[in-house]
């Protein structure tokens, strides 16, 4: 060779150019190889190897770009050039983009594989030259780097010409295919068995045998076929250098499908667990898909194949998947990733609806159980706390919600969350705003006591056993718990837990929930309720007032349910706290006995007195509740002149009491009690259960049919305005009519003796509602706790007003502390809650204002 021969070089170069043109542009003719060899060898010997390589690659690039790439993208132009709306039309076509994509990929890959053969021709030529020359180091690089450079060229040409919407097309493709696969699985009835069978068969007969050669006549299941088609597309895409774009694309399609599956399964029904079904579905659809895909692509490394030397921490995880066998590590990663995503999706979904779920509790406990498992996996409890608090503020802690509703939701929240969070740490965070809000409501204590002790009231939405109060339920729970784990839960513990509850503080956030609830304090619903009120004494006091009211408006001595409630309260609050209440109930029991003693002796006496008029009342109709007034809350007494016949009975009864219990005496509280009356008219009879003052009023109308309010008030011994208020009961029942008398402020009331001129139909109604009046028309016989407190607090009012005049505005704490420091006579002994409730009374009396937690004088 003549290396310095410039003409020879030019000649060789010209021949190389024409031969490579012939090769690259030629329609599949690779026979130029032998002719190319000497030319390339000559050029390399002249040190022009770089030039040879670059020219050749450039030639390939030009051809690839101008033919294959152009045609490839052209196939997607119709979609890419469409508006967003028009694109939907493409998406709804069944075979789009599948057909376009697979044809386009086939074409371009065909072209590429031809070019690869061309590259190989040059590689061989270079290799054989390299083998002949000693100077290997220099040329080795060229032969071995040619193919990688070619691959790089292909993918960079494609990526630089990539239309923006191509990833979108891929995404649509995978979504559609996965959905198709999912529908197939659904068709197989979603049962384990079906999945097993379908995949079990396809694994053995389809995958393993198919893997070696495409197109062999094997019985391939539908889904196997589908995955194979997808696999082909993925393989082609990878071959073109779209590896990561493709992976992103099917990953996001899988995630999308998983998300919609979770939404579909979870829905708004909280009564069925869904987590198990989601997990099953993950194994049945996406994992099967990935398994098949990875296997098709040859990516999976099975442990079975003996390559288990690479131990990963995941290796000890599930040993076998249904229909898959021992999964590859890639598949295990996918499994964890998908499960995590499913947990997180379901968790977010449930957290978003937690308010409704808790309203439905305990029917919704399957949803709560799911949520618990999700949170254990994701550890995102704080998400729950934040979201739930904001929905509480928005939906529950508003002026429109009744205190009862708030309390019921609070209790449900406690019950629901304690299963998620046995340590109570998150419950504490969630409960705080509810408790704060409830403390600002005046009827909170009353509602809590009603809820705890009253089976019929409170719980109006029908859940829970009828006639069962919260206390009863709590007790049953405690008994069940005791039976379940008596070793760490004895009665002493219960009491201690109760004592602790007042000084209770939340655990630090980092407290390990896995440490188990066993060694930790149990979540004490009652304790949490009491912490709203402030102290158990206030709760007990309110209960006592409500009990007094209830007992004093009874017309019998049936107190079985109250005794049961008292026993339960004693368990929780201690006997000494409940002693006054116990005495009150004991008074009723004693009264019953004393009544029957007195009545038998009275009847015996009066039987001997012959000629008693029939109209005269028998002592049989009189019952008396005899109270130990020192142990009852302050009782509102009012003068009342009962009819003479009744008065006679009362004094007979009192005399007999004095005889039996001497030297004890009875003091009648004539305005209290309950009276059952029958009003007998010319054309009708009506029965009523009323308070004594109502009875005293109506009985006066036997003497004369018309009374002015002033004379009647004097007769009965009550103020006129009080009479006017009470007599309204009888006019509203149609028993009396009202007319204006000669004196403008003195009304005349007349009995309606015949209904003939009034509506007769109302008779039926009257007898129906005869015994229902006490609820709203009965009057409170006991001073409420609020009234008592108001009385006690009034002495401090002037201090408070004085302080606010000086300081302008003050927080609750500041007022409380100032009173504690400076109020010596009388000394200030009230709790913060009592002060707050007094202040809110002053606010509603418009004496004070409250703004941003500050109290100030109302101007």
């Amino acid at each position: 060779m003549h290396l310095d021969d410039a003409d020879g070089a030019l000649d060789s170069w010209a021949r190389f150019c024409s031969l490579s043109g012939e090769l690259v542009g030629g329609a599949g003719d690779l026979s130029v190889g032998p002719r190319l060899a000497p030319v390339v060898a000559d050029l390399c010997a002249r040190g022009l190897a770089t030039l040879v390589r670059d020219y050749f690659l450039h030639n390939l690039e030009e051809t690839f770009r101008n033919n294959a790439v152009k045609m490839f993208w052209q196939k997607f132009h119709p979609y890419c050039n469409s508006s967003a709306v028009e694109r939907i039309k493409f998406c709804v076509q069944e075979s789009w983009p599948e057909d376009v994509l697979s044809i386009a990929l086939e074409d371009i890959c065909l072209e590429k594989s031809y070019q690869e053969k061309c590259v190989l021709v040059l590689v061989h030529v270079l290799q054989s030259y390299e083998e002949k020359t000693e100077n290997k180091l220099k040329t080795v690089e060229f032969s071995s780097s040619l193919m990688p450079r070619y691959q790089l060229m292909v993918s960079s040409v494609l990526l630089t010409t990539l239309p923006l919407s191509f990833p979108e097309i891929l995404n649509i493709y995978f979504k559609k295919k996965l959905e198709e696969l999912n529908t197939m699985m659904d068709g197989s009835d979603e049962t384990d068995l079906a999945c097993h069978e379908l995949f079990g068969r396809s694994k053995v007969s389809a995958w393993d045998s198919k893997m070696d050669i495409d197109g062999q006549e094997t019985v391939i299941s539908e889904s196997g076929n589908l995955v194979r088609n997808i696999g082909k597309v993925v393989r082609d895409l990878r071959c073109l250098g779209f590896t990561s774009m493709t992976e992103d694309s099917y990953s996001s399609a899988i995630i999308w499908l998983l998300k919609s599956k979770v939404y579909e399964l979870a829905g708004d029904d909280y009564r069925i667990p869904v987590l198990g079904r989601v997990k099953k579905w993950i194994q049945a659809v996406p994992l099967q898909f990935l398994h098949s895909l990875l296997a098709y692509l040859g990516d999976s490394v099975d442990y079975e194949s003996g390559l288990s030397g690479l131990k990963s921490p995941l290796a000890s995880r599930p040993s076998s998947f249904p229909g898959i066998g021992v999964p590859s590590e890639a598949l295990l990663r996918w499994h964890m990733r998908l499960e995590y995503f499913a947990y997180e999706t379901l968790q977010d979904l449930r957290i978003g609806k937690l308010f409704e779920i808790i309203v439905d509790y305990p029917e919704s406990s399957p949803a709560i159980e799911d949520l618990k498992q999700c949170l254990e996996y994701t550890g995102q409890h704080s998400k729950l706390v934040d979201s739930f608090i904001s929905s509480l503020r928005y939906r529950l802690l508003t002026a429109g919600a009744s205190t009862n509703d708030i309390l019921h939701q609070y209790v449900s929240t406690i019950k629901a969350l304690r299963s998620i969070d046995p340590t109570g740490v998150f419950l504490e965070a969630v409960g705080e705003p509810i408790r704060d809000y409830l403390r600002g409501r005046k009827d909170t204590i009353k509602c809590i006591v009603t809820m705890l002790t009253d089976g019929s009231g409170g719980n109006t939405n029908g859940s829970g056993n009828a006639g069962d109060n919260l206390l009863e339920e709590l007790n049953r729970d405690a008994e069940n718990q005791e039976n379940a784990d008596y070793d760490d839960h004895t009665n002493i513990d219960e009491k201690q837990a109760w004592l602790n509850s007042e000084s209770w503080e939340p655990d630090p956030v980092e407290a390990d929930p896995l440490k188990g609830s066993r060694n930790r304090r149990k979540i004490d619903i009652l304790g949490l309720m009491v912490s709203i009120i402030g102290s158990k004494d206030q709760l007990v006091n309110e209960y006592r007032v409500m009990l007094a009211e209830k007992l004093l408006s009874k017309s019998d001595f049936d107190i079985d349910s109250d005794i049961r409630t008292l026993e339960l309260l004693k368990i929780h609050f201690g006997e000494s706290s409940m002693q006054k209440c116990e005495i009150m109930l004991n008074d009723l029991i004693d009264s019953k006995r004393t009544n029957s003693n007195i009545k038998t002796s009275l009847l015996r006496t009066f039987e001997t007195v012959a000629g008693q008029e029939e109209t005269e009342m028998s002592h049989d109709v009189l019952d008396a509740t005899i109270i130990s007034s020192n142990f009852w809350p302050p009782i509102q007494t009012e003068d009342l002149a009962v009819p003479a016949s009744v008065d006679q009975m009362l004094s007979d009864f009192a005399k007999r009491f004095h005889q039996i219990k001497t030297p004890r005496k009875l003091l009648w509280k004539k305005n209290l009690g309950m009276v059952k009356l029958e009003l007998q008219f010319e054309d009708r009879n009506m029965q009523f259960t009323v308070v004594p003052v109502h009875a005293a009023i109506v009985m006066r109308f036997q003497e004369k049919p018309s009374w002015t309010s002033k004379t009647l008030a004097t007769e009965i011994g009550i103020p006129v305005d009080s009479l006017n208020r009470r007599i309204g009961f009888w006019t509203s029942k149609g028993v009396l009519t009202e007319s204006v008398g000669p004196d403008a402020d003195d009304h005349i009331f007349t009995v309606v003796d015949s209904m003939s001129d009034v509506n007769k139909n109302s008779i039926v109604n009257e007898s129906c509602e005869a015994f229902q009046m006490t609820e709203d028309e009965g009057e409170s016989s006991v001073a409420s706790v609020e009234e008592q407190l108001k009385k006690e607090m009034t002495v401090y009012e002037k201090f408070i007003i004085g302080m606010l005049t000086n300081f302008g505005n003050m927080t609750l704490d500041k007022i409380h502390n100032t009173l504690k420091m400076f109020c010596a006579e009388p000394s200030y002994d009230k709790s913060l809650q009592q002060l707050q409730s007094f202040l809110s009374g002053l606010v509603s009396d418009e004496k004070l204002e409250m703004r941003d937690g500050l109290y100030l004088l109302k101007k």
């Binding site: 004093l552 009874k554 017309s555 019998d556 002693q579 116990e582 005495i583 004991n586 004693d590 009342m617 109709v621 009189l622 019952d623 008396a624 509740t625 005899i626 109270i627 130990s628 007034s629 020192n630 142990f631 009744v646 009975m649 009362l650 009864f653 009192a654 009491f657 219990k661 030297p663 004890r664 005496k665 009875l666 003091l667 009648w668 509280k669 004539k670 209290l672 009690g673 309950m674 009276v675 059952k676 009356l677 029958e678 009003l679 007998q680 008219f681 029965q687 004594p692 009875a695 109506v698 009985m699 109308f701 036997q702 049919p705 028993v735 009995v751 003796d753 016989s781």
Partner: protein
């Protein structure tokens, strides 16, 4: 119109009707009970001395038993005798 009373359920409180409000020994209300008792009334009765001072029965019995010499009324220091 005639009114027939079917039932009259009245309310009354009882009292020992003693001169003082509280027992001179335990300082508890007469109409309450002594510190040892749970229920007032029948279970914890009052007793009058010849001097006309009244005490919870349980209180004066304890007092009498604790005296080494002749028991005196804690109020008037006269010799204690139960009123006949």
């Amino acid at each position: 119109m005639k009114v027939k009373v079917l039932q009259w359920h009245a309310v009354a409180s009882w009292t020992w009707d003693a001169q003082d409000e509280t027992c001179g020994i335990c300082r508890m209300a007469f109409d309450g009970c002594c510190p040892d008792c749970k229920f007032p009334g029948d279970d914890c009765t009052l007793i009058w001395g010849a001097c006309n001072h009244a005490f919870h029965l349980h209180c004066i019995l304890k007092w009498v038993n604790s005296q080494t010499s002749i028991p005196l009324c804690p109020m008037c220091r006269r010799e204690w005798q139960f009123k006949g």
